[in-house]
Structures are given as C-alpha cells and as structure tokens.
C-alpha cells in the first residue's frame, strides 16, 4: 500500500473520528508523543522522541480508582480507560518494547487491567528508521530499523510517500483508501532499508550467563562510580515499569494513584526498619543491569532492552549502557573467581 506524505494529515484527521490519535509532536528542540488535535501536528521526520510512548499505555501518573469512605463500607469507582487508540509514527524499538511490557503486566499469576485494556485497544503504526542515530543499537538486541515486532502497520519513507507494510488484520482494516504499491515503490523501499545502517553493534550473546557468574564481581564497584542515581535512564526507558502507589485525598474521599518510580532511588527498596537491601548506587545499578539482561531473560525469555539509546542520550554524566555491556562481556578474561 502507498500513503503519500501530503495525505498524512487528512488520514490522521479521519482516524480521529474513531480513535484517540497519538503521534510525535514538535516541542522546543525535541519531539514527544502527544494526543494530536490536528493531523498536521504530527512530525514523522524525527529521530526519536525524548521519552518513549509507553506513557500512553502506562501513564507516568494515573488514577487506579477513587473511593469514598462511608458509615459501613466504602464506595469505590474504578477508572477504566476504554478509548480506542492509535499510536502513529512509533519507532520499531518502541513498538517492540510493548511486547516486553506485555509480559510484565500479564505475568504468570496476575493481570494488570489498566495497561492490558489500553494495549488491547491500541493500534501501532510504525515508521522505519532510514537514518538510525549514533546511540541506536537495536540490531544488537534482535530488533532493527524496519523490524515489525508488535506493529500493525509499518511505514517506510521512500521520498514523497510511505510504502505501508501490512502486519496485522487490525492494521489492514485502517487502510481502506490507499492504493497498491508499484514495483518501483517496492524497489525504493528495499533500497532505503539497505542503506539504513547502525554505527554500533554489541555482542550480547552469553551475557546472561556472564551476569549469573559475576554478581559479586568487583566490576560493580567501579562501573557505577560515575552514576549519580538521578533515574533519567529509567524514566526514559521504554521497558522500565517500576511504579509506586499513593493515596491522594480530599474530605472523606480520595484516589489511589500509580506513579512511575525508579529502581535507582534509595527509597525504592528502603524497609520500614531502616534496612535497605540495595543501599548504594552500586547495588541499584547492578540490579538495573541484572534486571534487563539476566532476571527478565530468566523469567520471560527475552531481554528487557530494545536498544533505543535513550538512556545514553539522557544521562547527565554520560554513562553508556553499551560500554557497560562490553565491560561485562570482557569479564571472563578478567574474572577472578
């Protein structure tokens, strides 16, 4: 299928009749996913958004339910979001991150209705990356600039128009008025894909086992020295899912609210007794790496990193997860135990 660039605003406007439409929108010097008011607000020639679109399905702050305490009981009102949504112009790495978050919010025992309802009602229209950034390393994690994991449609920018690859039935049903792609278009698309190369690649093969064997290695003492524990990496990560639940009240009523939290913060694990199982940046940093490249693999058989590079770009002290992983890969030779 073919979608010409000048038709995109109209296409998005027509989607707005049936869906909440989210797309990358220009902010000062960066782009962010926002619900758009006009189709023309969407910018598709962006590198990647500053924060991932996970906030659409798992908001930074959301009401789980509100309550009113009464004489003999309590009235509770669940806050369900049933709106149909389209995330338009999502990068393949971010689309893949949803398939990882799915495993978090639908684990072997419990289902999170807030995330899963939104997920079920959301269509993902991806846009391939003709020019990956220097911080991108998706291919090292089994993804790629035109990977279709998690997507319903994938747009490939071939100049004046997008070649639309149909991935799912849901996606196909959205494209009622598009014309078929010609041979020429297809050729252009494969040319574009060939030219999209990443500058960095790291070998993560066997890293789970390396981490298994080196939990107590001295590497963790120095590898985290630079980290100031600000949590930027976790807040900008498309697969980080840690949260806190708090009450906000007025009079006899209140709401229970879920907010993003971060494993990089000391209070995250602090016991009531004062004991903290992860008392310093060393343990917290180690847990973050272990969680993504070892624990999550152990539990869900997939690495909880998609190589989007946001943690590299947003780190105020220039920590680079690729260097950390390379350092760990080199452990075998260095390991004392």
């Amino acid at each position: 299928m073919i979608l010409t660039k000048k038709d995109v605003p109209n296409f998005l406007d027509s989607l707005k009749n049936n869906y909440q439409v989210f797309a990358p929108v220009k902010q000062d010097h960066y782009t962010e996913f926002k619900e758009i008011e006009n189709g023309a607000d969407a910018v598709l020639d962006y590198s990647n958004t500053k924060t991932p679109p996970k906030k659409i399905l798992f908001p930074q702050s959301e009401k789980l339910y509100c309550y009113k305490v009464e004489e003999n009981g309590v009235q509770m009102e669940e806050k369900a979001d049933e709106q149909q949504k389209v995330i338009f112009g999502i990068r393949p790495c971010d689309a893949k991150s949803f398939t990882i978050l799915d495993k978090v919010f639908d684990n072997n025992k419990y289902q999170d209705p807030y995330y899963l309802n939104r997920r079920k009602n959301t269509i993902l229209v991806g846009i391939g990356c003709n020019a990956p950034e220097s911080t991108c390393f998706c291919t090292s994690l089994g993804g790629g600039p035109f990977d279709t994991t998690g997507l319903d449609l994938l747009l490939v920018d071939i100049g004046d128009c997008y070649l639309v690859e149909v991935i799912s039935e849901k996606g196909k049903n959205m494209l009622t008025s598009c014309k078929e792609a010609g041979e020429e278009d297809k050729k252009k698309a494969s040319q574009v894909k060939e030219n999209a190369t990443l500058t960095t690649s790291i070998n993560i093969e066997g890293i789970k086992e390396k981490l298994d064997n080196n939990f107590y290695n001295e590497i963790w003492d120095y590898i985290s020295e630079k980290c100031i524990g600000c949590g930027s990496c976790t807040f900008s990560c498309p697969t980080c899912h840690c949260f806190d639940i708090v009450d906000e009240t007025a009079d006899s009523g209140g709401c229970r609210i879920r907010n993003w939290d971060s494993c990089m913060f000391p209070l995250f694990t602090l016991h009531g007794s004062g004991h903290n199982p992860r008392p310093s940046n060393k343990e917290r940093f180690r847990n973050r790496i272990m969680h993504k490249f070892n624990y999550f693999v152990e539990t869900n058989d997939i690495t909880a990193c998609v190589g989007c590079g946001r943690c590299i770009k947003n780190c105020p002290v220039n920590m680079d997860i690729r260097e950390i992983l390379e350092e760990i890969q080199g452990l075998e030779a260095r390991s004392v135990s």
């Binding site: 003999n72 309590v74 708090v246 209140g254 939290d261 494993c263 694990t269």
Partner: protein, 279 residues
C-alpha cells in the same frame, strides 16, 4: 478482567496493643460482605495489603489462621505513615484488604512431619497462623510433634501472650519461650534464640524447621540448625522486602529474578542459597 488492585472493605473490630514498648498492635478485621468472606481463602504464610483509606496501603503477613473463619488478624509495628495511622484507627472503621497474596507455607509437604517453629520478636505473625492451623482439632492429627522456640528481648515484647500461656498448658506442643536477660516473674528460658535452639536440640529426623525473625537472629540460627543436622531443604523461611503492588509488577521486592511478593515470601533455605544476597 479481575482487578487485583481493588481492596475489599473490612471492619476493624479490635485494635489491641501487643507489646509494652507500644510499637506493635494486633488488628482483627471482620468481613463486611458475605461474598468476600466466602471468596477470601488463604493458607498460613500468605500476606495481604492492608489499606488505611486516605493514607495508603502496606503489606503484612496474615496472623490469623484459616481455621478462624470470618476474620483476619494482622500484627503491625508502628514504623511509618500507614502503620502509624493504622495504630490510631478506631474500632468500627472500614479498612481495605487486598489479597491473599504470595505463596504460603507448604502445608501438604509439612503433613506427617514434625514441625519446629523458630521465631524472634514481632516476626512471629505468620508462624502464629501456622501454629494455630496445626493445633486445630481437625488438623492436629495430620502433623507430628510441634516444637516452638520463640524469643523476644523482654517478656513484654512477646506477641500473643495469652495464647502462649494457653499453649503452654497443652501437652501436644513443646513450647520454649525465651528472653535475652533474666526478668522478674519470668517462667521461660533466658538466652538468644540460636542458643536456645541448640539447647532444645530438635531432631532433624522427618522434620521441617520454619524460621522467621530479624536478620541477626536468622544469621546465627542457621549454623545452629546445620549443627543439629538440618539440611537446607528442611529449613523454610519467609522473606520481607519493601513491596507496593504485591503482584510482581512494581519492581521493588525482587531478590534476583524472584519477586518476594509473587514468587515468595516463603522460600526454603536451599532456594535462598541460590539467590543473590540482596534482602
């Protein structure tokens, strides 16, 4: 979809001070809805999230036993915002309960075995649940000897004093209460839990030891049990870590790849030895 974040309403019918340092109270809650009462089925060792509406919710081991129908009991130390407001909550107030959560003591595995419960301070809660379960007339025959070693710094810091006195009278429990230093009128042992464990010297033969206590007690009780011949898969423990969701999603209570809330809180020592030392 069933919403695991929604608590059921329960009425606080008893707010009782347990310890003379005024820091631990026990709370007895009654189900408000018949349906909740029917659906809330639990096993000793499980926990629940207790809500004080307007303040928040925190996880606590269930101290009552399924053999005490219609109520739930929690013993809570006053340490933070939720626990402090819980201590100040008047009887008759509606609270919220979310659960039961977590795994439990492996009741089926424990059947036919001798049971040794070892505990210190206010960690005795879920062991009280298990002891009460075992001592129920319908269950007592399913288990072998029941030995309880329970210590606190002073007599006033022991939980469930009246119940302990009742148990002391029974011939089907071998109860050893201990305190750190001699005190006037004290009829039990004097000494730390690990040392009393060695003195009592329960046989590891066909036995499970279930140990709940502060880290320092655990640290010294493990070698004592090993010396007596207990293997690491005969020692069962219950972990505590800071929790929020209780359903394995919010990310804070993990020890290695295991979430204490969802995969625990009950682990054998053999399992714990395989996990990173981060609890």
């Amino acid at each position: 979809m069933n919403n695991p974040y929604l608590p059921i309403p329960m009425k606080l019918i008893k707010n009782f001070r347990e310890t003379d340092d005024k820091l631990v109270n026990s709370f007895t809650l009654e189900f408000i809805n018949e349906e909740d009462k029917k659906n809330f089925t639990y096993t000793p060792g499980q926990f629940a999230e207790l809500s004080v509406f307007g303040k928040g919710e925190s996880p606590f081991g269930i101290a009552s036993s399924p053999t005490e129908p219609g109520i739930l009991k929690f013993s809570v130390a006053k340490v933070g915002k939720v626990t402090t407001s819980l201590h100040l909550t008047e009887e008759g107030t509606t609270l919220g309960v979310r659960g039961p959560l977590g795994n439990s003591f492996p009741i089926e595995k424990l059947k036919g075995k001798n049971i040794v419960l070892i505990s210190g301070g206010f960690a005795f809660t879920t062991l009280r649940s298990l002891a009460t379960y075992i001592l129920n007339e319908n269950n007592r025959g399913d288990f072998g000897n029941l030995t309880i070693i329970y210590g606190a710094r002073t007599p006033g810091l022991l939980l469930y004093k009246e119940e302990l006195a009742e148990w002391d009278k029974r011939s089907d429990i071998d109860l050893h209460k201990t305190i750190d230093k001699p005190a006037e009128g004290w009829d039990g042992k004097v000494g730390f839990v690990p040392q009393v464990t060695e003195e009592v010297a329960p046989s590891p033969e066909n036995t499970y030891a279930i140990v709940c206590g502060p880290p320092i007690m655990i640290k010294f009780t493990m070698p004592a049990l090993e010396k007596l011949g207990f293997k690491s898969d005969q020692i069962i423990m219950s972990l505590e870590n800071r929790m929020k969701c209780g359903i394995g999603m919010c990310g804070r209570c993990n020890v290695g790849s295991k979430y204490v809330c969802k995969d625990g809180p009950v682990f054998t020592r053999a399992q714990l030895l395989e996990m990173p030392n981060e609890y």
